[in-house]
């Protein structure tokens, strides 16, 4: 019900607008009552599609690419989730005396990306928080000492989201692919995966209705070749054993996601 903030640099609608009260909403019973809605196994990640570079079918010759084009770009789909990312850099940093390069991330939802009310153009607290999370999850993988005085910027936009934790995981995977496309030196690509706890079972890669029904969500960013975890985020309560189990399963799934992304990146070179 928040009032739309009037920004004179945009076309504005009325001061206040709300979603209508939807009747005939799909019966919000337990989404896990009869297996998963889309027939996936409990530890199955939604199908992934990655594409680096421009979105057109034929990659234009790099020699003739536009001067304003990003250093690297990627488009990532995971089920209904769609994320687009552009990476610039290494380019001149803001702190000229820094011995290490810096990695900055700007995460945004498109105004229509969420299944509920339209998002305001004003950057929300959650978007700032996720930007920071992405920086923390990815930065350990980049050889920042190789880029003194420089900065690397990643701009991520979510076109469609379906499950918050899964969307963040998708954003991490998308940035990894874009960094590889930009030729940034990295120790390893970061792959991320999310899970939700329903009852006593961990369910991989929850869609929005599943996430709403889950009592706990877990997000892990992991570097499979180095076998190092770069980021863990858990919401909700579990026993330590359950967390252990989740970390184990999640890292396994991350390895599978990683394989998919790497296979794509290899194919794109040929």
């Amino acid at each position: 019900m928040a009032a739309n903030i009037i920004d004179r640099r945009r076309i504005n609608g009325p001061q206040r607008s709300v979603e209508p009260l939807y009747t005939h909403v799909d019966a919000a019973a337990d989404p896990f009552a009869s297996g998963r809605g889309d027939g996936r196994a409990l530890d199955q990640v939604r199908p992934i599609f990655v594409k680096t570079g421009p979105l057109s079918a034929h990659r234009s010759e790099s020699a003739l690419s536009s001067a304003a084009a990003a250093s690297g770009a990627a488009f990532y789909e995971q089920g209904k989730i769609r994320v687009s990312c552009a990476v610039y850099g290494p380019r001149q940093g803001r702190r000229s005396s820094a011995r290490m390069g810096s990695f900055d991330c700007d995460f945004r939802y498109a105004p229509f990306a969420c299944s509920w009310k339209r998002r305001s153009h004003v950057k929300g607290a959650d978007e700032r928080e996720i930007s920071l999370m992405l920086e923390h999850a990815i930065a350990p993988a980049i050889r920042l000492e190789a880029y003194p005085k420089a900065c690397i910027d990643a701009y991520v936009t979510v076109i469609e989201s379906d499950g918050k934790a899964a969307t963040i995981a998708a954003a991490i995977n998308c940035i990894s692919a874009a960094l590889a496309d930009a030729g940034i030196e990295m120790y390893d690509s970061v792959a991320a995966c999310s899970m939700g706890l329903t009852g006593a079972r961990w369910v991989a890669d929850c869609a929005q209705p599943e996430e709403d029904a889950a009592s706990c969500s877990m997000l892990i960013a992991y570097m499979p070749s180095a076998d190092e975890v770069t980021y863990i985020l858990q919401h909700g309560k579990t026993t330590p054993e359950q967390t252990d189990q989740a970390v184990q399963t999640c890292t396994n799934m991350c390895a599978r996601v990683y394989a998919v992304i790497c296979r794509y990146l290899q194919d794109s070179l040929e």
């Binding site: 004179r8 640099r9 076309i11």
Partner: protein
């Protein structure tokens, strides 16, 4: 056909202009057509921010303030139209690494205010002594639902019109238009008719502006001669 303000279809509203009204600006002009009135102040060439600095020419900046309220996207749109129209007509390369700032204040909006803003900007630039390739004049006309074409429409006429056409020309109207904005629902015949009408109107407006500038220079010459 008579119009609400008893003008003929091809008749523009009474033009009025004052040059050098603002004492602190390098050049200024007020241009009014009937109840539409625009005040324009030009500063330049002045210091430019490092970010905007261009090595081979002057940077042109246009700021437009509406008659009421704060500037919004509509005013930004008009700003961009004025800037893109004058960017080429100002001899920018004569003043590299400087800024020419065109400040437009709409005093009263009663239709055809974009044309009035362009005309006011021309006069203010001339008054400031900024070298121009040519003097720019603009005119607006509207096609009413019946198919009648009225020149220099008021806000009321434009709101009910089928299409509204604004053209800006340099000193030689045969050289093609500098700026065109035709919008609404129209056929090319109507567009061409409006083009012709606006071209002749722009010539008349230009003649008026020229005599205003000449009048001011003559007055200044008299003052210099007297002292």
């Amino acid at each position: 056909m008579t119009r609400p303000d008893r003008r003929d279809a091809g008749q523009i509203r009474a033009l009025h202009c004052v040059l050098g009204q603002l004492s602190r600006a390098d050049g200024s002009a007020q241009f009014a057509a009937g109840d539409s009135s625009v005040l324009c102040g030009v500063y330049g060439p002045v210091d430019v921010r490092v970010y905007d600095e261009k090595l081979d020419r002057a940077h042109i900046e246009v700021k437009l303030r509406p008659a009421t309220g704060l500037p919004n996207t509509k005013d930004k749109w008009t700003e961009s139209v004025i800037r893109s129209t004058f960017e080429r007509e100002i001899l920018c390369h004569l003043h590299p690494r400087t800024l020419v700032q065109i400040n437009v204040q709409v005093r009263q909006d009663d239709g055809a205010v974009e044309a009035a803003a362009i005309n006011a900007a021309t006069l203010a630039l001339v008054d400031a002594g900024i070298p121009l390739r040519t003097m720019v004049a603009a005119a607006t006309c509207a096609v009413l639902p019946g198919g009648a074409i009225v020149v220099d429409p008021t806000l009321e006429e434009a709101a009910g019109a089928q299409s509204v056409h604004t053209f800006a020309f340099g000193g030689d109207t045969a050289g093609g238009p500098l700026h065109v904005d035709s919008r609404g629902d129209f056929a090319m015949d109507e567009y061409n008719a409006c083009y012709d009408i606006c071209a002749t109107t722009a010539e008349r407006v230009l003649a008026f502006m020229r005599s205003a500038v000449e009048g001011k220079i003559a007055k200044e010459a008299l003052l210099v001669g007297a002292s």
